[in-house]
């Protein structure tokens, strides 16, 4: 289990990337620091997928693109059937799907419930 979602910050120009690249997308430098993406992100677009991919049983599967405070975006499963534009989410570790009979784990995004 991974505790935090990690992104990669270029040691030369400071660009933060997710996923990882071997050369910086901005300056082509090859050295990076691991940084945490943080605990809160916003949903910027989403879909409820009815034609399910192999290895996923949740129907419909809600998928979305989220944006963190540092403007880095990620794709992931959104843990609600009622996604709303700009809703606040936080990453949680869990099972994503089965690929060739192996269970694959990673981060999904759960709505933050305001108390």
């Amino acid at each position: 289990m991974q505790e935090k979602m990690i992104a990669w910050r270029c040691k030369r120009c400071g660009k933060v990337m997710y996923p990882k690249h071997e050369r910086c997308l901005n300056c082509k430098n090859t050295e990076f620091d691991d940084i945490s993406l943080g605990d809160e992100c916003n949903l910027i677009t989403f879909t409820k997928l009815y034609a399910l991919p192999i290895g996923i049983e949740i129907s419909p599967l809600t998928l979305g693109l989220v944006e963190f405070n540092n403007k880095v975006r990620a794709m992931g499963q959104i843990m609600t059937d009622d996604p709303k534009p700009c809703m606040k989410l936080h990453p949680v570790w869990g099972k994503l799907r089965t690929i060739e009979k192996k269970e694959v784990y990673g981060f999904k995004f759960e709505p933050i419930v305001l108390e």
Binding site: L49, Y50, L96
Partner: protein, 388 residues
């Protein structure tokens, strides 16, 4: 110094469910008909390029270009398969163009083909999804319709694009496909049909997505200066543009700008010394309805966010100012992935020769084809001109 390149022959199989014919049979059929169309049955070929994405996975066959030259005796021509996802066909045409333009080859066959039916839809969908980023997209369950749906929703929020506009792309392309004997679907659809069809990945419904198809297409290329020896109606390839973008959708500065399309178009227009206003007809890669609209903007035909206005006004209809997808597009013609980029060129050659039958656009002189790979991370654009 590059040589001018001409297309002297072309052909395609019918697209759709081709029961009883395997991948090699359809590649052979399209290739022989193209060679016959060019009138070069007795000529030697220097090189062969075969666009294909999934022969190993779906047909249990590798090195299909070697197999094709053997079946139709083009030995000892050089032969290679070109795999570039859904842009494999366009990549194969580009390689054929470069072989002639560079002076390395005087007679080139470019074929593209895919056999996709007869396998369950979830398997095809999964294989197509593997072109997404493995760790950042595929693993989460991102299929191609899901990618297109995320993109479509962003578009709808930014611009005055509605589900009705997506339906209108389907209505136009189904109507065009009715006039194309090679199209997979011969069925008119109404806006209501499209807007009430099954939800695939909201807001995308069944009629906003292209059908799974089999099919093959082929063209014969030679130096333009020699084309008149073989045909009275050569079509010149004036230029191409090919460009990439980030693998993931999320990393694009503005996810609804198709940078690979923009740059490929800029490069193609620069090479052809033309601009978007010079085009009379276009075949765009409408694997999903939104893509016809987005490509028409990022190529430069219409301002960003105004592609749907052109669609509404009938500008992109067969009898409009800039007909788009007179063939019926991927939506109605079908999308056998390796064949698509070659078949777009075949349609435009027919249009430029005035041989497109009921779907003939009025007297076109120049045409553009856009073959879109990945989810927008690898695009090839060709510009053609009537040679007479």
């Amino acid at each position: 110094m590059m040589r001018d390149v001409a297309i002297i022959g072309c052909s395609m199989t019918k697209f759709g469910r081709l029961d009883g014919k395997d991948l090699m049979e359809i590649l052979v059929e399209a290739s022989l008909k193209a060679i016959d169309d060019a009138g070069v049955s007795e000529c030697d070929f220097d090189s062969v390029y075969v666009g294909n994405m999934l022969a190993g996975e779906l047909s249990h066959q590798s090195a299909i270009a070697s197999a094709l030259v053997d079946r139709i005796n083009l030995i000892p021509a050089s032969a290679e398969r070109i795999e570039n996802g859904p842009a494999s066909g366009g990549s194969a045409v580009k390689n054929g163009f470069l072989a002639v333009a560079s002076g390395a080859s005087d007679m080139v066959l470019v074929a593209g083909g895919e056999k996709m039916t007869g396998v369950d839809t979830s398997t095809i969908s999964d294989l197509m999804s593997t072109l997404n980023h493995p760790d950042a997209e595929y693993v989460h369950g991102a299929t191609m319709p899901a990618m297109a749906a995320l993109f479509t929703r962003l578009y709808m929020e930014r611009y005055s694009l509605t589900e009705r506009h997506l339906a209108m792309v389907a209505v136009k392309n189904h109507a065009n496909g009715m006039k194309n004997p090679y199209a997979a679907l011969h069925k008119l659809c109404t806006v209501e049909d499209a807007m009430t069809s099954a939800m695939v990945s909201d807001p995308l419904r069944l009629y906003h997505c292209c059908p799974i198809s089999d099919g093959a297409a082929a063209v014969v290329l030679c130096p333009a200066e020699k084309a008149k020896e073989f045909t009275t109606k050569p079509v010149k390839i004036l230029g191409f543009g090919h460009a990439t973008d980030t693998h993931t959708l999320q990393e694009r500065e503005d996810p609804i700008i198709l940078k690979s399309v923009k740059i490929a178009a800029e490069r193609a227009f620069k090479m052809a010394k033309l601009n978007p206003r010079d085009m009379d007809v276009a075949e765009l890669h409408d694997a999903f309805a939104i893509l016809e609209i987005a490509e028409s903007e990022d190529i430069g035909f219409f301002k960003k966010g105004e592609g749907q206005l052109a669609l509404e006004k009938g500008v992109t209809a067969i009898d409009g100012e800039l007909p788009i997808n007179p063939s019926g597009g991927l939506k109605s013609k079908g999308h056998p992935v390796g064949a698509t980029g070659v078949a777009q060129i075949v349609e435009l050659v027919w249009q430029l020769r005035g041989e497109a039958g009921q779907r003939q656009v009025k007297d076109p002189e120049r045409a553009l084809a856009c073959n879109f790979g990945g989810f927008g991370n690898n695009t090839i654009i060709h510009i053609l001109e009537r040679g007479d």
